[in-house]
């Protein structure tokens, strides 16, 4: 079983004046607005479609100067945060 992730539709990403923003659409969000780091914005783009943590890590280390271990750790944290603000969809799938 592999867990796959995709961004939800309860937030909208915008790049305004060079700031990466995640804007909540609904009233149940803890904050109306979140700021993303550039790497997080890159991952948000990758989460346009279902992907695994490994696929995200591979994309991240290919695009940025980061080791596979560091990428895996960061992605884990990032996905947990997205999940906490209800910006993430999760799916279990058999390979």
């Amino acid at each position: 079983m592999a867990t796959r992730f995709m961004r939800g539709d309860r937030h909208v990403y915008r790049n305004i004046a060079g700031e990466h923003l995640l804007i909540a659409l609904h009233g149940d969000s803890p904050e109306p607005l979140f700021a993303l780091t550039p790497t997080a914005a890159f991952l948000w783009e990758q989460l346009n479609d279902w992907c695994t943590q490994e696929e995200l890590a591979a994309a991240l280390s290919q695009r940025f100067d980061v080791t596979a271990e560091q990428a895996a750790r960061d992605i884990n944290d990032f996905l947990a945060q997205l999940d906490e603000v209800r910006a993430l969809q999760t799916q279990e799938s058999t390979p």
Binding site: I16, A17, P32, T37, V85
Partner: protein
């Protein structure tokens, strides 16, 4: 390097964006008029009394505008009218704007807000719903709006939105017929935990009707009203501290001290672009032209300088003036005109705050320099200062 979704407070990120927008001239804020007609018949209104049924933006047209604003980097959109909730496609336009990722502000008289709209706004919250309150009693309220039960319905709407935690603020224009009730309305807003604001500048109707100007407060009435709302002018003083005098950076021949054309713009129901909704002089049209073309034209307009000898060009109180280029333009036809009414209000207020020895502007003692455009004779007759 690290990832993450930092929870940055709205104001912090907004301040940061504002600084960048000012530096790079990004149109961060837009006011979009989606309908010019209204379900109220307010006596002071500058737009609805002369509007026709077709003076509204279609959903398709709104999409064009929102798309262009999004590409230009706009972050906040004020949906205004007229009365926006009378627009048959308000919900679609609003949701389109939400899904584009705009932070949305709404101006409304709240008459149509019942349970269903309140639930909708709770689910899809705007940044703020700004509700116009027109009186402290049903009698005074409905004398102004001309609509039976409008007071009761507005009060109910405020409660429905409050119960659901929808962000809201209240406002009331300060005029001859509202001035005595403003302290009561302010106290009522405070009792609900809501922000209240008022504005004392009354504009002529969009198509030239001057009737609303009869409701304009005189300088003495403005000061007395402000003293009652803000005893000792404590809030005004706080605002003035950073904006009066040479060191403030507000003194000089720049006409536009606000963000118009630098970080903000307004769009009317026909796509016409102005500095703000107070200005009715369009510089271009977003239905027909590219955003850059219109934004350049607006930039040209707000780069205006006062001519040599203009009283405002050397005024110490330019940064706290009761008027602005848009209100001056409405009364004189030019943003570089001069309206003594605003000047008197400002100097009187400066006197009350200890910034001016007499409270009387130079133009009263020495006259208005020749060549400076002032309100025409008919307009001037309507303004209280010249009565």
């Amino acid at each position: 390097m690290s990832c993450g979704v930092p929870v940055i407070r709205g104001e912090t990120i907004r301040d940061r964006l504002m600084a960048k927008a000012r530096a790079d001239r990004i149109p961060l804020q837009a006011e979009v008029e989606i309908i010019a007609t209204c379900n109220f018949k307010c006596v002071h209104c500058y737009i609805a009394p002369c509007a026709e049924h077709e003076d509204r933006m279609s959903l398709e047209q709104a999409r064009v505008i929102l798309r262009k604003l999004m590409d230009a980097g706009t972050m906040t959109v004020l949906l205004t009218g007229g009365e926006v909730l009378t627009h048959k496609q308000f919900k679609e336009i609003y949701l389109e704007a939400k899904r584009c990722g705009f932070q949305i502000f709404i101006n409304t008289n709240a008459y149509l807000i019942g349970e269903r709209w309140a639930d909708f706004f709770a689910e899809w919250p705007p940044e703020t719903i700004s509700i116009s309150i027109y009186g402290a009693t049903p009698e005074s309220y409905e004398r102004l709006t001309g609509i039976p039960r409008s007071y009761e319905r507005c009060m109910r709407a405020v409660d429905l939105l409050l119960e659901r935690g929808v962000p809201m603020e209240l406002k009331c224009p300060a005029m001859t017929i509202t001035k005595d009730e403003l302290p009561l309305i302010k106290a009522w807003a405070a009792s609900k935990g809501l922000r209240f604001r008022t504005d004392h500048n009354i504009m002529p109707q969009e198509k030239g009707g001057l009737q609303p100007l009869q409701l304009q407060l005189s300088p003495e009435e403005v000061i007395s009203m402000q003293q009652r709302l803000d005893p000792g002018l404590v809030e005004q003083r706080r605002y003035a501290e950073r904006r009066v005098g040479e060191a403030s950076g507000f003194v000089g021949d720049r006409v536009y001290l606000c963000g118009a054309g630098k970080i903000s713009l307004a769009i009317n129901v026909h796509g016409g672009v102005t500095t703000c909704t107070t200005s009715r002089k369009v510089v271009g049209n977003l239905f027909e032209q590219s955003f850059d073309e219109v934004w350049d034209a607006l930039g040209g307009k707000v780069a205006a300088r006062y001519p040599v000898g203009h009283p405002c060009a050397t005024c110490q109180f330019h940064g706290i003036c009761a008027g602005c280029p848009a209100t001056v333009e409405s009364l004189t036809g030019l943003p570089t005109g001069y309206v003594q009414l605003y000047c008197k209000i400002t100097h009187m207020r400066a006197y009350e705050m200890g910034y001016h020895p007499t409270g009387v502007p130079r133009t009263v003692t020495s006259g208005i320099p020749s060549g400076i455009v002032t309100p025409g004779a008919t307009t001037a007759r309507m303004l209280p200062v010249l009565n």
